[in-house]
């Protein structure tokens, strides 16, 4: 069966439009939570690219406390249970990563060291690290940053062991 599916290519995958897709003028930069229950996208709100979070099951828009300003937003990324949403935002002339903790309501503005601007980001499923794409002397670079002193881990239910940052570290 498996080999047959692979040989045939698409097999029986179910494709559906993301919730709200028909009503929205444009949806970009999709990011799923690790558990697959939430979807963050960038939508056009009165001409301003703004992050929006949706429950995949019922299509409802989930409330965000800190992302009504500082557009344009780009490159959203979610942790496993969707507790943390990381987004690149604009403050003055600077691009800046902001992480919203949906559990506590706290916001963490995290500028890049050295006055650089992030271009894309990816949050680790447990939110212990973040990978940022930056421009450096005409080249794209990816740099990893430790978030373990800033955020509590957001692990899948029942998973005790995490991948400690110290194992990754310098």
């Amino acid at each position: 069966m498996l080999l047959g599916c692979l040989a045939l290519g698409s097999c029986t995958n179910t494709v559906e439009r993301a919730p709200g897709g028909i009503l929205q003028r444009s949806q970009q930069d999709p990011a799923l939570s690790g558990n697959g229950e939430m979807l963050a996208v960038i939508v056009d709100q009165r001409g301003r690219p703004t992050v929006q979070l949706r429950d995949i099951q019922n299509g409802k828009i989930l409330p965000l406390r800190h992302f009504s300003r500082h557009q344009p937003h780009s490159s959203p990324s979610l942790s496993w249970n969707g507790r943390y949403l990381a987004v690149i935002t604009q403050r003055g002339n600077r691009r800046l990563m902001i992480i919203e903790d949906r559990l506590s309501g706290r916001v963490h503005p995290l500028p890049l060291p050295g006055g650089r601007d992030p271009v894309r980001l990816s949050l680790a499923p447990d939110a212990r690290q973040v990978a940022l794409q930056v421009a450096d002397q005409g080249h794209w670079r990816v740099e990893l940053f430790d978030l373990s002193q800033i955020l509590e881990p957001d692990k899948p239910a029942g998973l005790q062991s995490s991948f400690p940052s110290t194992e990754l570290g310098s």
Partner: protein
């Protein structure tokens, strides 16, 4: 003796400035993971489109002018082989990785086609995924288990996001 005093005074003053600065700002600061960043810097002339799994970093790395999909085991700091995935006639556009590093979803350009693909590392297999309505895929995001794929699609002059529930 005087030199030692000056040295300790300067150390004390630096510590004071650091503490005062941190307290005054009250800001959280990003802490670079130095060893890994050195490795990432040295292992490719450029790198973009990062996607993190639990202990995996997928990205598009460029070496000698050719861009390819690379999966790095962050624990061993080594790229893992991806047999059958990178082709000299294809240009990768976007990549995402499942939490356990087993599945990679990708968009790539090959000839005149933009392909949406799922790669299974343990099988070394590349599966082409079809969209239900015609469109051009651009950006992908896999969920942790690698069972749901969100893909940004250009369709009728606008951007849509399709969700694909992968059956296998």
């Amino acid at each position: 003796m005087r030199y030692v005093h000056l040295l300790s005074l300067s150390t004390w003053f630096s510590s004071f400035l650091l503490c005062f600065g941190l307290a005054a700002c009250g800001r959280e600061a990003l802490r670079p993971i130095q060893g890994l960043n050195r490795f990432l810097l040295q292992s490719a002339s450029s790198r973009r489109e990062p996607a993190l799994g639990r202990r995996w970093l997928a990205s598009l790395s460029n070496e000698k002018g050719r861009e390819k999909i690379e999966l790095i085991d962050l624990r061993s700091r080594r790229p893992v082989p991806l047999p059958g995935l990178n082709r000299p006639d294809a240009q990768p556009i976007s990549v995402s990785v499942s939490a356990n590093g087993e599945r990679l979803a990708l968009v790539r350009q090959r000839d005149d086609q933009t392909e949406l693909l799922l790669y299974r590392r343990s099988l070394g297999s590349v599966q082409r995924l079809e969209l239900s309505a015609k469109g051009i895929p651009r950006q992908v995001s896999l969920d942790g288990p690698g069972r749901i794929l969100a893909v940004q699609v250009s369709r009728d002059g606008r951007w849509d996001v399709d969700l694909i529930r992968l059956s296998i």
